[in-house]
């Protein structure tokens, strides 16, 4: 199952997010890494240092694009300028698939710059799926949507989050970027069984997996990406790998970022849960 239409029939291994504090090390030392995930919006610029760094990375590494501002779940029309910039970047990186979040974040052209949870209704699923289809048709690259962590649920919801995710990806015929940490965080915040989530999604559509750390507060958990991956999240990762097969996996570490080696070492812990013949495998 690792190579499927939703990740461009690739078999990527374990990657890490490309982050500014690591640029110097990566460009000077050329460490062996299966692949890097970039935040698309950081490189949807017209010129300068960001694109210079990206081109240097692309000379040696495979890169997958991950977006934070497409807002598939917003009721606004898709922004053509955004899509055009994104498509230019897709051509530059040759990303075999791209991902963004199953959320909303803008309305009437005003942006919250947040990944806000959707109202889980059939109408919202239909709108979201339609926008994913439109984006994919324009960008001409497979799309995976990522489940977000959340701290609120709405009265209007008509189904569970995993039912909503399944509804959207089936209607849009797109892939899933399954963020295991986000499921754990949301499960703790809302009191659902994270394994019910993992067991009740279309596993054949999982094109990529995210893992990350989080922070515990008195009454809730925040998805802060500033810690190593916690044991319950690794256990969920092991569970989902049994369902999906070895799948492109990426560690996110966005705040209090330690050395490149430490981040990479943390990511490679995922190998413990992969079948032995997949531990070093990567084709594209």
């Amino acid at each position: 199952m690792p190579a499927n239409p939703f990740n461009g029939f690739t078999d990527y291994g374990i990657g890490i997010g490309l982050r500014v504090p690591h640029y110097r090390h990566i460009l000077a030392e050329h460490p062996v890494v299966d692949w890097f995930e970039i935040i698309s919006e950081n490189f949807m610029v017209d010129g300068g240092r960001p694109l210079e760094v990206l081109d240097q990375i692309l000379e040696q590494y495979s890169v997958v694009q991950h977006g934070v501002a497409m807002y598939f779940g917003s009721a606004d029309r898709l922004n053509r300028e955004h899509l055009k910039r994104l498509k230019r970047l897709v051509k530059r990186t040759g990303t075999p698939w791209l991902s963004d979040h199953l959320c909303w974040g803008s309305v009437d052209g005003r942006y919250t710059h947040d990944l806000l949870p959707m109202p889980y209704t059939f109408a919202a699923a239909k709108v979201t799926a339609e926008r994913i289809r439109q984006a994919r048709d324009f960008l001409e690259v497979p799309i995976c949507v990522e489940n977000v962590s959340s701290y609120a649920e709405y009265h209007v919801s008509e189904m569970t989050e995993w039912e909503f995710l399944s509804e959207v990806v089936e209607q849009a015929d797109c892939g899933i970027l399954l963020d295991v940490n986000n499921i754990y965080v949301s499960a703790q915040n809302h009191g659902f069984d994270p394994y019910a989530y993992l067991d009740n999604i279309p596993h054949g559509r999982v094109g990529q997996i995210h893992i990350a750390g989080h922070s515990k507060f008195e009454k809730y958990i925040l998805d802060t990406h500033d810690h190593p991956v916690l044991d319950p999240v690794w256990e969920m990762y092991a569970h989902v790998i049994k369902k999906t097969g070895p799948t492109a996996t990426l560690l996110e570490w966005d705040d209090r970022i330690p050395s490149f080696e430490e981040v990479h070492r943390e990511a490679l812990k995922a190998r413990r849960f992969l079948p032995s013949d997949n531990k070093g495998k990567r084709t594209s």
């Binding site: 919006e41 009191g191 009454k219 966005d254």
Partner: protein, 316 residues
């Protein structure tokens, strides 16, 4: 709101949620009890958000309300460290909060968040207190650096392209990432004294949460910038950010070229300002040659084009 059963209802739902998220925090960085119009925020939150066994609807809203403000404020703190140092934290926070209430982000990227700050400050100068003019100079200077960092570049003009052309008809463009500034304060020297972290410039986080209040950042506060007329070119060279002081005549010449004047007309403007005597005329000619050699080596001069802005379109 009782249902989301259509795209129109989804939009209305999102409008209501965004209206709550954009509500400014109180001085303790918490969600306010009432909107400026007197509406009860807890009641509004309860109509949209479910409570759970640990958090009320209001408390769940507060998580997002705080994250929104921390994120956008953080972005402006990062982009305008000189303005922060100039105004001090209290005034800066008041200014950028008012700015964000008036001008919420209209771009997919936080990079553009401060694009309207200059105009806001021009319209509402009282937010800068006694340092209005210095604050305006600093905002212009810091925004120019954002443009220089990742603005578009054109291919510099080649000698072959201008060979045989006459100064009376020859026009140049300037690199779009180059900003020319005529300021009344030495904000360049001031910012050098403030800045210590040069790694800023890219936002790389994919996490949507932040629990750090912007005031946790510390910034050096040197003495006020010296009042003096300063002409600056803010640009990049080999993708590193630079700012360069210009002589007044050089500034006039470049500005004239940027507005589309011919080389001859632009040089005449500079010449008029320099008022060279017969004695130092040769020296001015030499200076002109040096400037053009310098600007060419920096790649500032591009083939002339008349730009017309494009409109953003939506699809569906």
């Amino acid at each position: 709101m009782s249902s989301v059963r259509s795209q129109a209802e989804l939009k209305e739902f999102q409008r209501q949620m965004a209206g709550l998220l954009f509500q400014p925090l109180n001085t303790a960085w918490k969600t306010r009890k009432k909107t400026p119009g007197g509406d009860d925020i807890a009641a509004m939150a309860a109509s949209l958000i479910k409570p759970n066994d640990r958090l009320s609807s209001f408390e769940r809203l507060q998580i997002y309300n705080r994250c929104y403000w921390f994120r956008v404020l953080d972005s402006l703190y990062d982009d305008f460290p000189g303005l922060l140092a100039l105004l001090g934290n209290r005034k800066f926070l008041k200014l950028v909060t008012a700015y964000l209430i008036r001008h919420p982000s209209e771009s997919f990227t936080l990079r553009n968040l401060g694009s309207r700050l200059e105009n806001f400050l021009l319209a509402e100068p009282e937010y800068a207190g006694e340092r209005q003019q210095a604050a305006l100079d600093m905002v212009r200077f810091e925004w120019a650096q954002i443009v220089a960092f990742d603005g578009p570049a054109r291919k510099p003009v080649s000698a072959r392209e201008i060979q045989g052309q006459h100064p009376e008809s020859l026009r140049f463009g300037l690199q779009p990432y180059l900003t020319l500034l005529a300021l009344d304060h030495a904000v360049d020297h001031y910012l050098l004294a403030v800045k210590s972290d040069e790694t800023a410039g890219l936002r790389s986080a994919a996490s949507n949460t932040s629990e750090k209040t912007p005031i946790q950042k510390s910034t050096r506060r040197p003495a006020a910038p010296k009042k003096e007329r300063v002409y600056l070119a803010v640009h990049r060279y080999e993708n590193a950010l630079f700012y360069k002081r210009l002589e007044p005549e050089a500034f006039v010449l470049l500005t004239a070229l940027k507005t589309g004047l011919t080389l001859e007309s632009a040089c005449n403007k500079a010449l008029k300002l320099a008022k060279p005597t017969r004695k130092n005329s040769a020296a001015f000619q030499l200076k002109l040659a040096e400037w053009f050699a310098d600007w060419s080596s920096l790649g500032w001069l591009t083939p002339y084009t008349s730009d017309k802005p494009k409109k953003t379109k939506t699809i569906l």
